[in-house]
């Protein structure tokens, strides 16, 4: 059993939540799917690192360098533990977008090098006749790198469609076939809120010999995830959506796949030996961490992970599930409001998108902002998903552990007042 969250106590750990906006309005933050707020513990951890141990990691013969390296590698271990992974299988990236690009570039770099005689694992060599499979609900970060990979290699991009309720069309899963080299799928949609059956998709990818990749940006911050149970070869997510600092993301991979992958960014720290003509590369994860890394951010993210573990991921998931149910209920009760995404609170996360008949999302967001309610409006970097639902944009409410029903009530009141202002209610 998970314990109920003491939201009022949690909110005290987030200094920004007590500020006011727009002429003295209390801030109601419902945009955590874009980025989460940070507890004092995270800010303190970063500051403490800079005040006591700052140095370049993995080099230098002095005590500070040792301490910095220890802080960085301990952070990796803490984050690995959070998703039940091994430390050496976690790569630090700038953000999830970089993690997904790192994966996509393994294929394009592999393909390019193989043409000049380099020995490359054939899984990373693509050409005409090969296919790459994504879904119609991907964030642009998990779509455009694959479009680019196809443009560079002559492979073909295919996608699993989305039904009217915002679920993947299971009948499309068989487009993953023997021609498929990569399958990259979002775990939880940032726009629809749908939680996808990624295990089923990854199993199919494995069966067909394709490399399976999961974008877990919206799932890992909100639920307990045992990363190996997803059945993927690679999983990317970001730190800033899980109470961590900006500028840090994660890419997990199986030891086997990381070991076979050509590098993405090259330079210092990622090498084994260097000669004027050629070089050899360090084993993972260092092979994928060129240059001086984001140590303070790693330390901050480890503090975020400890904070989440102290609160309890199962409690957070239950709390957000309850809030999602409340949001769906309240929005469904509003005339002229249509939810874009699953209507039922089943296999569904806490990002809820909707359109208000007669009021453009940008105007809904503006009028909510005037009441201190911060939401996201637009296409949420998932433009093709908007097209699928014939809407130019949506308004999205998204929650986290520091929200409660009073935040949802404030948003609902704001939507009603926007309808009144635009004369549509």
């Amino acid at each position: 059993m998970s314990a109920a969250l003491d939201v009022q106590r949690i909110r005290k750990d987030f200094p920004i939540l007590s500020r006011t906006v727009r002429d003295g309005r209390d801030l109601v933050y419902l945009d955590s799917a874009a980025t989460s707020q940070k507890p004092t513990a995270v800010l303190d951890a970063e500051r403490h690192y800079y005040e006591t141990s700052n140095a370049a990691v993995h080099r230098g013969a002095h005590q500070l360098a040792e301490e910095a390296t220890d802080a960085y590698e301990s952070a990796r271990a803490a984050i690995a533990g959070f998703v039940s992974a091994r430390s050496q299988d976690i790569v630090f990236t700038k953000n999830a977008t970089e993690g997904l690009n790192l994966a996509a570039y393994a294929f394009s770099n592999g393909t390019a090098k193989s043409q000049w005689g380099a020995h490359i694992d054939p899984r990373f060599v693509l050409g005409p006749g090969d296919t790459v499979v994504v879904t119609e609900m991907e964030h642009h970060a998990n779509l455009i790198p694959w479009q680019e990979l196809c443009a560079k290699t002559g492979a073909t991009l295919r996608w699993i469609g989305v039904d009217d309720d915002g679920r993947l069309r299971a009948e499309d899963f068989d487009i993953i076939d023997s021609t498929t080299k990569v399958v990259s799928v979002v775990h939880q949609s940032n726009i629809l809120g749908t939680i996808n059956p990624v295990r089923e998709v990854m199993d199919r990818a494995r069966e067909m010999g394709a490399v399976g990749i999961v974008d877990a940006c919206q799932s890992i911050p909100h639920m307990s995830v045992d990363i190996t149970s997803l059945g993927a070869d690679l999983v990317a997510w970001s730190g800033h959506k899980m109470l961590g600092p900006t500028g840090i993301g994660l890419l997990w991979g199986t030891a086997e796949i990381l070991d076979s992958m050509p590098p993405f960014l090259t330079g210092g720290s990622m090498i084994e030996t260097v000669h004027m003509e050629t070089s050899t590369f360090a084993p993972p994860p260092q092979r994928f961490e060129a240059g001086v890394p984001m140590v303070a951010q790693a330390v901050g993210l480890a503090a975020a992970v400890r904070y989440l573990e102290d609160v309890g991921m199962d409690s957070i998931a239950q709390h957000e599930h309850d809030l999602t149910g409340y949001m769906l209920e309240q929005l469904q009760a509003l005339p002229g409001v249509r939810i874009i995404g699953p209507q039922e609170n089943v296999s569904r996360g806490s990002a809820v998108s909707f359109v208000v008949e007669g009021v453009h999302p940008h105007d809904v967001g503006q009028l909510l902002d005037d009441r201190g309610v911060a939401v996201r409006v637009g296409h949420h970097c998932a433009w093709p998903t908007c097209r699928r639902f014939n809407v130019p944009a949506t308004t999205r409410l998204s929650t986290y552990l520091y929200n409660d029903t009073s935040d949802i009530d404030a948003a609902i009141e704001g939507i009603k007042s926007a309808q009144k202002f635009f004369g549509v209610s």
């Binding site: 727009r22 002429d23 453009h360 999302p361 940008h362 105007d363 503006q366 009028l367 005037d370 409006v377 637009g378 296409h379 433009w383 908007c386 130019p392 944009a393 007042s417 202002f421 635009f422 004369g423």
Partner: protein, 153 residues
């Protein structure tokens, strides 16, 4: 509702949004431009030509938020039938207004209902919405080869 947001959504703007003037593609446009605001998906297509008497004709189509669509309506009402030099003057005045941070006192002679957009300049995220049709006009005018004299206005 705050005074800032009231000045953003002035009656004139809401009226243009709900009752757009002159909406529709321009037949025989000499230049046309499709512009989109990639952060929110607002879209507008503006067509322009100059007739034998030196008058400008402007048409537009689009979809999006109240600010972008009202801006297109105001622009077409103001410029359809105007002289090239009036168009140039209005274009400059509107861009200046959007960069004024809300402190300008716009000239109704030059901008017509466009003066109502002064409050938009206080909201950085909405300036792009208001400018969208004007950017489309600029591009369409360029494609049509309509020269404007920089020294005028």
């Amino acid at each position: 509702m705050s005074s800032n947001v009231e000045s953003l959504y002035q009656e004139i703007i809401l009226d243009h949004y709900k009752h757009p003037r002159g909406k529709g593609a321009l037949e025989g446009a000499a230049g046309e431009s499709y512009q989109v605001n990639p952060t929110c998906g607002d879209e507008v297509t503006v067509g322009v030509r100059v007739d034998d008497t030196g008058h400008v004709h402007v048409g537009y189509e689009g979809q999006g938020c109240s600010i972008s669509q009202a801006s297109a309506s105001v622009m077409s009402e103001l410029l359809d039938g105007a002289s090239v030099s009036d168009m140039a003057r209005a274009e400059r005045a509107f861009v200046d207004l959007m960069h004024s941070k809300g402190s300008a006192e716009p000239d109704e002679e030059v901008l017509g209902d466009g003066v109502a957009f002064v409050g938009v300049a206080k909201y950085p995220a909405r300036i792009k919405c208001a400018l969208l049709p004007w950017m489309a006009l600029q591009d369409a005018r360029y494609k049509a080869g309509i020269e404007i004299d920089k020294s005028e206005g």
